[in-house]
């Protein structure tokens, strides 16, 4: 009686080992297969992502709330410490912005007259969908966010995602109650932009670092550090005129861009539903308290000298 199990064991053990090894190899092959499948059938993978993200969204939502509160509290304490300096800065800003207001009023009046002369047809007003950031799906290989707004809130793939500071990315995948945002810094992000006052055309290409690069510049065009970058609206992917960032440096390695939006500050994101084509009119100041709070945080990026 003792002999048989041992015999069976002796026979079964190598077979079992072999089977396990094959199963392991099979799983490795399956992983490679998934990668190839993902390369071939992007849509399938997108829908898988959307479904899984939808399932996890409530958990992420619950987890991210307390952390948001803590980070807000930390911010408040920090602001308290810097109250005097902040006040000083705001005073200076106020003085400068008052001048700008005058300029803007004049331009607005002039614009109105010119539009009247040209029978200009304004584009449709954009609608906003606001969502909370429930996951920052960082890592070395992808830059994205997950929002707690989805198809049931009217989110559609391709919509531009912005904050008060400027463009952060676009909707790359939509689930029922969650949406995945591809940030402008992601390797897969390509955005047609205008650079500087000359409106030089280029493509803003993410490279998985904090500073995306400008590529496909028309030859003979020059850009310099500090030039402001806005979306051009070419290709119909984005509404034109959204602030994106400014040129950080120009050297042999290429032109790197400092985006206006700081990724670690993202808590609430707005998605622009501007129809298929149209000229975006940015929301009037004061329309959205959330965006104003954020716009206040970053200094002078939109108020550069002409």
């Amino acid at each position: 009686m003792q002999q048989r199990p041992r015999f069976v064991n002796r026979l079964a053990q190598p077979i079992r080992n072999l089977a396990q090894r094959f199963a392991f190899l099979g799983l490795l092959m399956a992983a490679v297969g998934m990668m190839i499948l993902g390369k071939v059938d992007v849509l399938l993978m997108d829908s898988v992502r959307a479904h899984v993200t939808d399932t996890v969204a409530p958990i992420l939502d619950a987890l991210s709330r307390p952390i948001d509160s803590v980070s807000r509290a930390v911010d408040q304490v920090r602001e308290l410490a810097d109250l005097r300096g902040e006040n000083q800065r705001l005073r200076e800003n106020q003085a400068r912005l008052l001048q700008w207001q005058t300029v803007a009023r004049n331009l607005e009046a002039e614009n109105k007259i010119l539009k009247g002369l040209l029978n200009y047809v304004p584009g449709p007003e954009p609608n906003f969908i606001t969502g909370r950031v429930i996951a920052d799906t960082g890592g070395a290989f992808a830059h994205g966010l997950i929002l707690n707004a989805g198809a049931r809130d009217g989110v559609v793939k391709g919509q531009a995602a912005i904050t008060g500071d400027g463009l952060i990315g676009r909707v790359a995948g939509v689930g029922d109650r969650s949406a995945r945002i591809l940030l402008i810094t992601d390797l897969n992000s390509r955005i047609p932009v205008f650079i500087g006052p000359d409106r030089t055309r280029a493509i803003l290409a993410g490279n998985n670092s904090d500073h995306p690069r400008l590529i496909h510049l028309a030859s003979g065009e020059t850009v310099s550090a500090g030039d402001r970058i806005i979306t051009s609206g070419h290709g119909g992917a984005f509404p034109p005129g959204l602030p994106v960032g400014q040129v950080a440096s120009v050297n042999d390695g290429g032109i790197s861009v400092q985006p206006f939006v700081r990724r670690d500050r993202l808590e609430v994101v707005r998605l622009l539903d501007f129809g298929l084509a149209g000229i975006l009119q940015l929301p009037k100041p004061g329309a959205d308290p959330q965006s104003n709070r954020k716009a206040g945080g970053h200094k002078g990026a939109q108020a550069r000298k002409p």
Binding site: Q20, A23, F24, L27, L28, A30, A31, V32, G33, M34, M35, L37, G38, K39, M45, V48, R49, V52, T53, V56, I59, L60, L63, S64, I67, D68, S71, V133, I134, A135, D136, T137, G138, G139, A140, F141, A142, H143, G144, L145, I146, A172, R180, L182, D186, L187, N188, N207, N208, S209, D210, R262, R263, D264, R265, L266, E267
Partner: protein, 171 residues
């Protein structure tokens, strides 16, 4: 004496914890922390879990669970689907093949082992992603992510050690 249904359920629940903890780490990993520059180099917490359980309780974290957790990580983080699955499996397999070396070693040696295996994992993932996108992905972020993962290893591994002493002593 045969265990009653409650005991069996208790045992099952305990046996599930390694997989569940690893899964939880995947989710915790993507919660936005609002720390400047952090989201780019978030430490790969699930990798630590896979390494740890492969050494101490490989039976409770079988290869297919590692595969599924890797897929989940890919889906959630937006990496090409399959990359992390492959990487986790590679780590799991290489730990199991060196199981004799790891048994009864000090914590420091385990950390050292992790530093080697995680370096291999980082290289594998970088190669896979670069091949997937047919471009050279920025290697610096991968490197910093590796360093941070090494840095948090003691904390996570210590928690897991406590956990397995408390709940998995007899499992």
């Amino acid at each position: 004496m045969t265990p009653g249904p409650w005991q069996r359920m208790d045992l099952l629940a305990r046996q599930l914890t390694p997989s569940m903890l690893t899964l939880a780490l995947v989710i915790i990993n993507v919660v936005p922390l609002h720390i400047p520059g952090f989201s780019r180099v978030t430490p790969l917490l699930p990798l630590i879990a896979v390494y740890h359980w492969a050494i101490f309780r490989p039976r409770l974290l079988p290869a297919y669970a590692v595969f599924l957790i890797g897929l989940f990580q890919d889906i959630l983080t937006g990496a090409p689907i399959g990359v992390n699955a492959f990487m986790f499996l590679a780590v799991y397999g290489s730990v199991l093949s060196q199981k004799r070396f790891f048994i009864g070693k000090s914590f420091f040696i385990l950390w050292l082992g992790f530093s080697l295996i995680a370096a291999g994992a980082a290289v594998i993932s970088w190669v896979l992603v670069s091949a997937f996108y047919v471009t050279l992905v920025e290697p610096r972020t991968v490197f910093f992510q590796y360093l941070l993962t090494l840095g948090v290893f003691p904390v996570v591994a210590w928690l897991f050690l406590r956990w397995q002493r408390a709940f998995l002593r007899l499992v």
